[in-house]
């Protein structure tokens, strides 16, 4: 597999200039993600508007894959319902791990947006980099405003 399949231009772009890279002062939900293997740390902030994701952003440091994944995640999730977000995580997780499960066809556009990250499937040691932000997002939604920490190990 060519390295370029992993480090596509869009990944390098989002890795170097991540979108929605900011803290929120009063998020309704937030959580920290930590990958002890490489020391990557990320905080995901979510502001829910009833059942819909009004705002989602992140801050932290990490490799190009984890930063790009967080960046693309925030772009994809904004405006989605929690059910849609959950379906997207499921579909994304299946794509990068090669596992079962797919997002419904109504979310095809969103899944396509996440497609550049699926190159990590060929790099098992790096899958956790791509899923770190999503795990943090899930922990934020689950634990509300207490700021839980989720670890990839």
């Amino acid at each position: 597999m060519d390295l370029r399949d992993l480090y596509q231009d869009i990944i390098l772009d989002h890795g170097q200039k991540p979108r929605n890279f900011r803290a929120q002062e009063h998020p309704s939900h937030f959580a920290h993600g930590h990958n002890p293997l490489c020391g990557d740390r990320i905080t995901v902030y979510v502001t829910l508007d009833n059942d819909r994701i009004g705002d989602v952003s992140f801050q932290g440091r990490g490799c190009a894959i984890s930063q790009a994944s967080a960046s693309l995640m925030t772009e994809t999730l904004k405006g989605k319902t929690l059910a849609e977000a959950q379906a997207l995580f499921k579909g994304f997780h299946a794509k990068v791990t090669g596992g079962a499960g797919a997002a419904p066809a109504t979310l095809d556009d969103e899944m396509e947006r996440l497609e550049p990250l699926t190159g990590v499937k060929a790099y098992p040691a790096r899958v956790k980099c791509a899923t770190l932000a999503w795990h943090a997002f899930e922990a934020a939604i689950k634990n509300g405003s207490i700021g839980a920490t989720v670890k990839t190990e």
């Binding site: 231009d9 390098l12 293997l37 490489c38 020391g39 990557d40 190009a64 894959i65």
Partner: protein, 417 residues
């Protein structure tokens, strides 16, 4: 009878890594492999791999138990391995050599046995900022168990151990200085003789973590004067699961057992047990017999290449690596003080170590990326992670060139419009 494969003089007159490489089957099975991660674990020469298999085929039985000849032979080989380790470290007495699982277990043994017996609440254990987690966490456990203090000696601006500050931190309550011989994350060499002089002047003992030093420096524990010295077999071209604790005889004699079981006893009743003398007092249960045999072969292999020759080779190659890597724009070598040996830890502008390591891997270059089990040191240096290349007897300038070229390829990939 003996299973130890006779040593070939791999290097002949001149030290030739390309010839040495032929002793290591991994390179034959993985053509093009540029292996620069011996600091994490070294590859194994065929002599070790075959020697361990041959031991199981010809001479294996449990040790220190059987009356039958096979067990006596196995015991003899196991105890011969102890003699080889004694010579390797130039320890005064074979009873000063305890076989353990690895350096981590050796340090835990000292912290678990010597610690509670000789360290009192309020006493101090001095470690340094250069330490691997294995030389930090066991002392924290001891601290939490008995209420002693953990004091940390800092590095200086160049990344070397600050001996002046270390001296100032050794006080009347300092019971032990636990220090690395060669820092695994940066390659900083520590002048152990000086540390020992400072510590002994105040009555403190010294434990040296020799994991990175044992495979590449001629180590003489009597000349160093340290009280404990530990190293792992797998970093010295031997098997995993075997390691060594050297302890001065009078210290081991005074230490209580740390694990109970078979082989470490003289007599057991339900009321009372009398314990063996060292080293057996500290080797409860069936030991890693084949590991000890394999380690002995690995030490023979190292001696066959010549320890001074290995050191000379790695000093020269480290120098080449420093020159080659520091000439690359955007590549920063992590400071290692006055003397760097065998480890080149780099930080590359704009590329996270894990991305770099993935790209290097695709160029056939195996390095370690991460915190190298030295998080406090990397925090101090203001780095979350680094990319670390570490040398072995099979590496040469071409490996360094491959590393440099792969770093440049990564930079080209990450430098976008």
């Amino acid at each position: 009878m003996t299973v130890v494969t006779p040593l070939r003089a791999a290097a002949g007159d001149a030290f030739d890594p390309r010839r040495i490489r032929r002793d290591f089957p991994i390179f034959e099975r993985n053509p093009g492999l540029v292996f620069l991660d011996s600091g994490a674990s070294a590859q194994k020469p065929a002599a070790v791999i075959d020697g361990v298999a041959e031991f199981y085929r010809s001479d294996y039985a449990n040790v220190h138990r059987g009356v039958y000849r096979l067990s006596a032979r196995s015991t003899e080989l196991y105890e011969e391995a102890r003699d080889k380790v004694r010579r390797f470290l130039n320890a005064a007495d074979r009873r000063e050599i305890v076989f353990v699982r690895g350096a981590t277990e050796a340090i835990n043994l000292v912290a678990g046995s010597w610690g509670p017996a000789f360290v009192k609440p309020g006493d101090e254990i001095l470690v340094t900022e250069l330490e691997h987690h294995a030389n930090i966490v066991p002392w924290q456990l001891l601290r939490d168990r008995i209420g002693c203090k953990l004091v940390v000696a800092p590095i200086d601006a160049t990344g070397g151990l600050d001996l002046g500050k270390l001296a100032a931190l050794i006080g009347p309550r300092t019971k032990l200085v636990a220090v690395t011989h060669l820092a695994n994350a940066t390659g900083a060499l520590v002048p152990i003789e000086s540390v020992v002089r400072l510590a002994h002047a105040k009555g403190a003992k010294v434990l040296v973590d020799g994991c990175q030093a044992a495979p590449r420096l001629p180590v003489d524990v009597q000349a160093l004067g340290c009280d404990f010295y530990v190293f792992s077999g797998h970093k010295t071209y031997g098997p995993t699961g075997i390691g060594v604790l050297y302890g001065k005889k009078e210290l081991l004699d005074a230490m209580p057992p740390w694990q109970g079981g078979g082989d470490m006893i003289v007599e057991v009743t339900f009321e009372k047990t009398t314990f063996q003398e060292p080293p057996h007092r500290f080797e409860a249960g069936t030991p890693d017999i084949s590991g000890a045999v394999g380690l002995a072969i690995a030490l023979d292999y190292i001696e066959g290449l010549g320890r001074q020759a290995i050191l000379d080779h790695e000093v020269a190659l480290t120098g080449y690596g420093v020159d080659r890597l520091s000439a690359l724009p955007g590549v920063h070598l992590v400071g290692a003080g006055q003397q760097r040996l065998a480890i080149l830890s780099v930080d590359v502008d704009g590329i996270h170590p894990h991305d770099l390591a993935t790209i290097l891997d695709r160029h056939g270059v195996a390095v370690r990326a991460g915190h190298h089990c030295a998080q406090p040191l990397l925090d101090k240096l203001g780095l979350g992670a680094t990319t670390r290349a570490s040398l072995g007897v099979y590496n040469d300038e071409r490996d360094i060139d491959a590393l440099a070229e792969a770093i440049q390829a990564a930079q080209a990939m990450f430098k976008r419009s």
